[in-house]
């Protein structure tokens, strides 16, 4: 029988130390990394034959649309449900995304992402939620917005970016993409200026050093390098405009 050689960086508690554990998982064609972890749950025994605990990780949708299972697979942030063992070199190493605090094993706390987005006033205001007609929108605008809106908040862009760390307030490429989405989507002029100010602030584009790792790792294929360049241009126009017209 063929086995898949798996190495997992584990950590029991947020305060605990991390350690490596290796597993030999019976191979099945086209099994995903998520599937490997499921096998470890059912048979939590290390490669040395010692009993251990199941590896903790998050997964909800199993089809690359919820972003929960993002983790570092062979050195790169990816979705565990979206990659099969045939596409990976062995041993397959799994680590939690280093940018975020570890909760347990591969589970990380991504609350900082939600907090950053909440700071953008990321919502549309209403007088009453059933009233009002359908506003028209051109296909071109819709397509631009839809690409930005395909972000699943997995955090891969934060993990891959050398600029996102506890030493820097920079939120990450997802934040810039969300701000641009809101400004492209909503026609509220006040909100727009406030969001451009936020993008000019410490969480925003000044933190980006144009390394463009985000662009490479984004599992949704959002062109984040282009997005960041657009944001820089918009913020500059906004800065010049507010300098002259207040």
């Amino acid at each position: 029988m063929n086995y898949v050689h798996l190495k997992v960086r584990r950590q029991d508690t947020p305060e605990g130390l991390s350690y490596w554990e290796e597993f030999r998982v019976p191979y099945e064609p086209e099994m995903t990394v998520e599937h490997l972890l499921t096998c470890v749950q059912r048979d939590p025994v290390t490669a040395d034959g010692l009993p251990t605990t199941p590896v903790a990780w998050e997964c909800n949708c199993h089809e690359e649309s919820c972003g929960a299972c993002a983790m570092v697979i062979n050195g790169r942030a990816r979705l565990a449900c979206g990659i099969v063992v045939e596409d990976l070199n062995e041993p397959i190493t799994l680590e939690p995304m280093a940018t975020f605090p570890v909760m347990r094993d591969l589970v990380v706390d991504r609350q900082s992402m939600s907090d950053a987005v909440a700071g953008l006033d990321a919502w549309t205001e209403f007088d009453g939620f059933r009233n009002g007609p359908i506003p028209t929108m051109t296909q071109a605008t819709r397509d631009t917005c839809a690409s930005l809106a395909s972000c699943i908040m997995c955090g891969a862009c934060c993990d891959a970016c050398p600029q996102v760390s506890e030493r820097s307030p920079y939120a990450g490429a997802f934040y810039i993409a969300y701000a641009l989405l809101l400004n492209a989507r909503l026609d509220s002029p006040t909100g727009r200026a406030r969001r451009l100010d936020a993008l000019r602030g410490p969480q925003g584009i000044v933190g980006c050093a144009n390394v463009h790792n985000c662009d490479i790792v984004c599992p949704q294929g959002i062109p984040l390098a282009t997005v960041n360049a657009q944001a820089q241009w918009q913020v500059m126009k906004h800065a010049v405009r507010s300098f002259f017209f207040g």
């Binding site: 949708c61 972003g67 909503l186």
Partner: protein
């Protein structure tokens, strides 16, 4: 009574749960929304087929009545005519709401909503966002939840698992016991009304009759248990086993919001509120769950619950499972031991507790298949 005191708890961060929260908050209630995953990571993100709603009746000669006829013709016996009528009438309002809130439905070259065709629908009446309608709707609803959070109208609790419901002496539903996924701490959330919009309803149902297609509901979307409402995949009647494309999401939106509004009306008619009941009822309920958790965690000898859960889903997926198989699984489920003693982010505990719920559901499916 003062609207400020209306306390509603919604169980389940699904599309139905989120729209129920928004609808109740719009009516002035204070809503606590509990979800076992972050709202943005709901498995409802996987809905792909769009939302069925007649938004441009003139353009295609379509009508609500035609949508009702198509639905009844295709889904037949499994559905309730009143629910279907409500869904078809109200669905267009939700398309308008979602679009204004920023949902990026596909557009025609003129900038109107593109209406897609699908088998069973005699006219094109489906709004889609490429092949990711679920993800986009989840995002828009989460944004609206955030809007109410900023105003103190909604409190979201993520990474909490619902364990049981709390009933008062008059058998009215008064709350729900939840467990933190991190440290497994249990707490009872007090409520004047509870709305279930979770797939975990089987273990929660109290004495309310339910079927594999959800809880039995009345015209106000209340279950037979007073104060307990159901929406989304918990509510029976909106769609059958072979739902037409777009009808499921339409039903979850319409039914969810209707449950939120109905719950507010129900609370307005109450004379006593959850806050008047004292805390011992709620403490007892959460103590009971803590005790059960400890009992499970203390088991050292037994089968791995993940294996029993996998076998159970195999049996259910295969279909037509017999009584004997289920009895055997139930016996195994009662004798599991988690291969992990740590009371911190231990999903084995949730899997163990879910086993009982899943067996109850599997029995319902089996009995239904026999009929």
């Amino acid at each position: 009574m003062n609207d400020e005191t209306t306390k509603i708890v919604v169980v389940g961060g699904t599309i139905a749960g989120m729209i129920a929260t928004i609808a109740a908050a719009e009516k002035g209630a204070h809503v606590t929304l509990g979800s076992c995953v972050p709202l943005a990571r709901s498995s409802d993100t996987t809905f792909k087929d769009g939302i069925a709603a007649v938004v441009y009746p003139e353009a295609y000669g379509d009508s609500t009545a035609q949508h009702v006829r198509d639905t009844l013709a295709a889904e037949g016996a499994g559905v309730d005519e009143v629910c279907v009528q409500r869904m078809c009438e109200r669905a267009p309002g939700f398309i308008r709401f979602l679009t204004r809130a920023g949902a990026l439905f596909n557009r025609t070259s003129e900038g109107d909503l593109e209406q897609h065709s699908a088998p069973g629908h005699t006219q094109p009446r489906i709004a889609r966002v490429d092949d990711a309608t679920g993800s986009h709707v989840v995002r828009i609803l989460e944004e609206q939840i955030r809007r109410f959070e900023a105003r103190g109208r909604v409190e979201r609790k993520e990474y909490v698992v619902p364990l049981s419901l709390v009933f008062d002496e008059e058998d009215r539903c008064r709350g729900v016991v939840i467990m933190q996924r991190t440290n497994h701490a249990c707490m009872a959330l007090k409520a004047d009304a509870v709305i279930l919009a979770t797939r975990r309803y089987a273990g929660l149902y109290g004495n309310a009759p339910y079927t594999p297609h959800g809880l039995v509901i009345d015209d106000a979307q209340m279950t037979t248990q007073k104060g307990l409402f159901a929406a989304g995949s918990c509510a029976q009647g909106y769609y059958g086993e072979h739902a037409l494309d777009g009808n499921v999401m339409a039903a979850h939106l319409v039914g969810g919001a209707y449950a939120g509004e109905s719950a507010c009306l129900y609370v307005a008619g109450l004379t006593t509120h959850a806050d008047d009941l004292g805390s011992s009822l709620f403490e007892r309920a959460s103590d009971r769950e803590e005790k059960f958790n400890k009992e499970i965690m203390n088991r050292t000898e037994g089968e791995n619950p993940y294996i029993v859960a996998a076998d159970l889903s195999d049996v259910v997926e295969k279909g037509a499972c017999d009584e004997g198989e289920l009895n055997a699984l139930e016996e195994r489920a009662g004798k599991t031991a988690i291969p992990d003693q740590l009371s911190w982010w231990n999903d084995g505990l949730i899997v163990t507790r879910d086993l009982q719920n899943k067996i109850v559901l599997a029995r319902m499916v089996a009995q239904n298949d026999l009929k």
